[in-house]
Structures are given as C-alpha cells and as structure tokens.
Subunit: 247 residues, 4 copies
C-alpha cells in the first residue's frame, strides 16, 4: 500500500455480517476509509453502520445480492461515482454446509457455489475493473480449511471454497504485476459469533482461553495485508487459534 | 477391484469425446464391460460406438446433457435397469478457456463451472447412489494442471477444476470406507487430439518424440486405477510427457 | 519404458527388506531383470535371494551401507561392470521414529536423515550418473504420509521424508527431459510386515478385510510406474487401503 | 503474544547476517527486546551490534556454529542465565546453491543440510526446551520458494528447506497447544542484499520499483507474526514483491 495522499478512498466489504465482515468494516472505517457494507437485506446492516458512525467513521450500507451481476456492477459504479475510489475490496461470504454426497441436492450444490464462489468472481472482477486502470488496490478473499481440503460431506462447501481459492491465485498472477494486491485467507477454526455461541456452546466456551478466533483479530490481519508494502506482499495467510488442530 | 464373477457389469464415460474419453471407453469395452458413452449430441458418438462394436465390444450411446440433473438421473436409471450394474463411472468433461479476469463474462464463468464441476457433481452423486448399496465400484474424475494451480487468465477453468478436485477428495473420504474407489487424475500436458493437431501444430509435432500424451496410455492408467486391489488404492494420479515442464 | 530388446538389464533395490523392498525385488526379477538387493547385512538377504532364484530369477545380494558414499559408488560400478546395465533403481529405506521435539536427540535426527534422505541422494545421484548418458531408466523413491505432512513428534522422520520428496522433484525436473523417469510414492497406511504383526496386532488383524497394504500390490505399482510409456509418466503415486483415513 | 509485563525478555536471531537477519534483530531491539545475534564469526556481528546500540537498543553478539550442538546448547543456557528469558527465536540460516544432480557432491549435500536444516532443528529444539515450561514464546523459521518446490538443480538446497518446513509443521502441531507459536515464512523473491547487488545487478535495479524485498519489511512481518494474539496465529506466511512470478 503506497501513500495515497489525502483524497478519500473507500473500502467495500461484501458480506458484512455481524462478526468477521463487520469487524473488518469497522477496522477500515477506523483507518479513515469510506466504508461500504453489503448484505442481502439492507436493514440487517443498520446496527453495524450505526456503530461505525458512533465511532466517528463514515459508513454506507447497500442491500445487494452478491450473486446477481447487475446488482454487483451497479454497486461498484455507485461507490466509484458517488462515494470514493475503491482501494480495498473484501469478499467475505461463506456458506458452510455438510451433507453426505447422496443427500446433497443439486440446489444446495449450486446455491453454495453461487454464494461462495460465483459471487466472489463477480466482486473480484469488478474490483479488477476499477482498480487495474489505477494500478493499485487490495482484494482479499476469505477462505477456510475447506479451501484446501475436501472433507467428507463437504462437496458443496469445499467445492465453492476451492474455486474461490483458485480465483484468488489466478487474479494474483494476473493483477499482481499490475500493482494490485490479491490475497486469500484461510480461517482454520471457529470464530466468536452468535451462531457458534448458540449452536456449539462447548466450543464457544473455549473463548475464555482464546480457543476461538476473535473477529477483531481477523480484521487486524486484513488491515495488515492491505498495509503491506508492495515489495513484500503475502498472498495466502492462515489464521487459527493456538489450541486448534492444524488441518 | 474384486472379482465380480461372470455377471455383466457396465462402465460409463460421461464426456466420451474423440480422444481421451473415447480411448477410455474402448479400453473398458475391451475388458468386457458393457460400455456406455455420453455426449450432448448422440449422433457424434456413432463413430466411437461402431469402433467398439467392430472390436467385439458392447457399446451404448446416449445423448445426455451432463449439466441437467434429470438427464443424468435418467441415464443412471436406464443403465442400471436396462443394461448392467455400473461398476465404473468416469467423468471426463473439460472446458479449457483463458480470458483476462476483466474479460471473463459471468456467462463463461458459470458455463465452465456447469460443464466441468456441476456436471461432475451430478455424475459423482448418482454413481454414489447406485454403488454405495453394493459396497464396490470405481469413480474417476479427470483433472488437469489447472486443478492444482490457478494460472493467470484461468479463473473460470481453474475454478471448475479446483472444485472438481475437492469433490473427488470429499467423495473419497466419505465413500472409500464404504468400498468405493474414488480417484482424480491430473493430466499435465497436451493430449494427441485433432484439436491440438489443428490449433497447435508445433506442439502436436512433438508426438514423434512422445512429447504429447497418447489417449490410449491415459486409458491404460484409468484401467490400472480401476484394477487396483482395495488394500492399495491411488487417489490422485498425475500423467505428463517426459518433456513436459512439471507444474 | 521403451523396449530395450533382449540385452540383460538390472534392477537395484536399495533397502530390500522382508516386506516391501523384497516384494519389489521379486517383481522385477519375475519380469526378467537381473535383480540386485542390498541391506546393511548381506546375510539377511539370503532368504530373499533364495526365493527369487527358486522362482527362476537372477538375484544378487550385497551388504552395503547406503549412507556410505564409497560403498554406494562401488555398488553401482560393480553392477554396471559385472552384472548388467541398471535400468531401474528403487530407494526403499525408511526410518520411522516418533519423539517429542525436546526428546529428539541430535544423533537420532542426524541418523534418520542419513538413512532416509542422504542415502536416497547417494542412490539417486549414482543412478543419474549411469542412466543419463544412456537417456533412459527409472528411479523410484519410496515415501510416506510423513513426506507431505509434518506430524507431531515426527521432526526427524518427516524431515528426512520431506527432503527425499524434494530430491525426487528436483531430479524429475532435471532428468525427465533427459529421458529418465523419476517417481515418488506416498505409502499412506500400515504395510503387512512382521513388525506390524508383532507390534500392532489389532492393526494387522485388518488384513482379513484388506485394511493393510499388501507388499505384492505395492510392488505391482512400482512395476506399473516403470512400465509407463514416456508420453504418460506419473511423478507421484499415493497408495492406501480403502479403510485408511486420507491424510 | 500476551503482555509479559515489564520484565526483560530476549530475542535470538540465529544467522544475523547483514540483511534479513540483521533487520529482524534491529526490529526486535527497537521493540525493547534484549537482542542476541549469532554468526559463525563473532567479529562480523560488530557493525550490527553497534547500530542497534546506537539506536538505543540492547544487543549481544555470539560467535556460534549453529551446526554444533554443544555451541547451541551453551548459547541458549547463557542467554537464559545471563541475559533474559527467551521470548523469540528466529532461525535465519540459508545455503542457496544450485548444481546438476551429478555434480552435487556428498559434501555439499550434507553441508547445506547441516546449515539449513540440522542447525534449525538444534535451535528449534533448544527454543522448545526453554519455552515449553513457560507456556509461551515464538519460534520463526525462514523458508524460501525452495521450501515448497524442488526445482532442477536444487536437490541440496531444497532438501534442506523442505526438511526445515516439516520441522516447523511438526513443532507447531506439538507446541501450539502448549502455547508456543511456531511459524514458517516463504520468502519468494530476491532480497535487497549486497550479494544480490553485486551478483545480479539487473535484478537489484528493480529496487527502484519495489521489485526486490526490503529486509526491513521482512522484519516487520516477523514482528507481526510474534505480535499475533494466540486466538489468531499464522503458521505459514509467504512474502514476495508485486512483480515476482508466483511459484
């Protein structure tokens, strides 16, 4: 990341959920970025936007279906034309499901791919479209253990995550020499979310010993990736709690 | 592969093109399998079916769109009900394209995934459906260098190939302990096809020094995979010409 | 492997133990190779040599310390000058130990490397020396799960196995284009050996359901690798029982 | 890294050369660590120690042969007894050589392993010895492209680097759950060193466009790794210039 002077710049988080995506959005807002958050339902973004604004940041929320090309193209155009040039795009949509192969419906297989891979392609391509002519910018894709290992029952989730990882590699090889930093993370462990707290209370209890990932720390890692000078870029970063068994 | 006695068994090649898929089909026919070949256009299968029959084999061809669930389910049902129990399923559809990321249309990205990953999921799942209750069978997915490396311009092709590889891993982990051999190949190099001969004549000229893959030899490898006893199964097999630079 | 006519050729198995190495030696002897077996103690080779001869094969045994350069150079010279040109060299020495890092002595760490990596380098280099001028030959290194995964307590064993794998890659990239087939296997599971029978009887009992690797089947795979035509070479081959959890 | 209060702590850089190792040592000194630097020749450390002291840091230099167990054990004992508890150990010795396999002497093969793998084992084991009872600490091993790819001619260098990487994995799996952060870096590209400036002037000229790695930025990455909270540890970090072709 080079110094871009005092002009306003924007950071987009596609899939700004309550935990990781939200923490990333707040982190970039804190660093002075015009922060744009999307989820399918605009209304669900309100608490996050309010929190960012209460902390003194600038935040904009859009209800946008990340799987719908027109929505995504319009979103990027709106940000570029109305808000500020995009310097950072984070794609953070997952769709973790597990079914035995014979019980994996084509609907599930397709939908998981649309959410976690096709939507990543749309966001990544649009990011490339606006960043490449400027010769700088950062694009980060959120991966998981399923990005590097096809576990039993994970044909749908892992299929999408492998595809997203190959997208990150392909884009890095093409866009790196054009000045754009493309990175992929591998989050290997449970994250401190309401969903984990509710569905895996024992797992969540490990929080007291730092046994699950704190979204704020994931956000720090994303900020670090964006902050790397271009002579020393990281393409793939794994993050896991100290107690977690390495995949 | 255990000895299955004298009952008739079938082998299905989804994507039985002129080169690799055709050679695989002929190989299994030669070993006595009722061989079933599919392509989108049934008519284009005729030369292959005739060649198998001329060699004394039993061959059946179906025009079937591998991306259409109903087609695939019907295909498997027809084979099981009318022909012979499926012992081998080979998924052999590729869709090698290369576009800079900004010129990769959502239509291309989706179509390549549908052909090379979603269709693989449908074939794999249906194979699991008929094989799992019997506790034996072989499922082979054809991969490429793009299955393990996201090269520049390959976001669509590599995305589909990575997804297919994760499918193979996921199914192997689930179905191996159920007696089903799931394997994935990595074909790393040009194959001796009419398409290569026409479009890359210099490359094709390497044939005289064994510099491109002979489809018959790929077929031998597939037969070998199927023939492995279940105490010594290979999950992933790479194949490349001696002159080829290792990816 | 091209047809080499009727001239005698030799196959060397460095580390021709009772199970895997012995089975590989018998396999190549059965195919007509002058088979050369080495272990540190020549006397321990006698049962294997007798068995090969009883089966009609030609076998020679040498007591040779695979870690001692002079021994290895002399061995290759003796074979080339007195027996027959080396067409196949298999390196099959392992040294599976597990110690917590703090209890891993420098002596163990060094010794395991000398047996499983340095000795592999010596055998591989000497094989290259005699094969490269002829432009053909096969060199196979036996690996394990520890070749691709550094498990807890395996710093010594995995360190040696990773090194051996990198040797295989490096030699394949250099020697492949010179006509020499360099391959690496990943044996992922217990092998049917006396040692397993004695020390892991429960594991060995899985033999009745093909749950452990039969050395004869490993030998078949090595023969298959050597038999591959040079337009379709495999560099890395994994082998595991159907019941085995994929690493 | 948890807050350790105000007690003095030490950071050891094994292989504190002029560029990367030196920059890492200066970085940790700047953060308040009692910094210990080693090279084979103590005298060659003087400029670095003086620079650290001039910047207000505390630095100690030891001539120590990292391949000699007694030296390494004594070094760790001296630091722990005379200076301050070790909180950070960085192993930074490389030995990049390239020879065709037939020209790789056993002396070179062994020496490169002793410098880049065996010495890493000694440093890592001793670090584990002093850190494990305390339940915290950071151990970082410096890797390279050769750590994940056995290139032609790199049998010795890559063999050592693969071994070092497996050591990092093995130690991470054992020591992570004991509170010790073990990380491995993959430096993929030329570093701005005098050696590169002298031997690869064209490559070095890329410095003007950030085309080679700045040692200060590598040092920042090492500090970042050490600073990660234990719920979000990175095990493997790649670093490469934007212009560099991804391996």
């Amino acid at each position: 990341m080079a110094d871009r002077g005092t002009e306003k710049r924007s950071a987009l988080v596609v899939g700004a959920g309550d935990a990781t995506g939200g923490a990333i959005a707040r982190r970039f807002a804190r660093e002075g970025y015009v922060t744009v958050c999307t989820r399918r339902e605009a209304a669900s973004l309100e608490p996050l936007l309010e929190r960012i604004r209460a902390d003194g940041g600038e935040a904009h929320g859009f209800g946008s279906d990340a799987r719908v090309e027109e929505d995504v193209v319009n979103l990027f155009n709106t940000i570029e034309e109305k808000l500020a040039p995009l310097e950072v795009v984070v794609f953070n949509i997952g769709a973790n499901v597990n079914f035995p192969i014979r019980e994996t419906t084509s609907r599930v297989y397709r939908k998981v791919w649309e959410m976690a891979a096709f939507a990543g392609f749309l966001a990544g391509r649009e990011a490339a479209r606006v960043m490449a002519p400027r010769g700088h910018g950062t694009i980060i894709f959120t991966g998981a253990t399923a990005s590097i290992r096809g576990g039993s029952g994970f044909s749908a989730f892992s299929g999408a995550k492998f595809a997203l990882r190959s997208l990150a590699q392909s884009m890095a090889r093409e866009l790196g020499p054009q000045g754009i930093h493309v990175a992929h993370t591998i989050i290997d462990g449970a994250i401190d979310t309401e969903w984990i707290a509710k569905n895996f209370p024992q797992r969540h209890a490990l929080k007291s010993q730092d046994g699950i990932l704190n979204p704020e720390h994931i956000a720090d890692a994303y900020w670090m990736l964006h902050s790397q000078p271009r002579d020393a870029w990281t393409h793939e970063l794994d993050l896991r709690p100290w107690m977690e068994k390495m995949a």
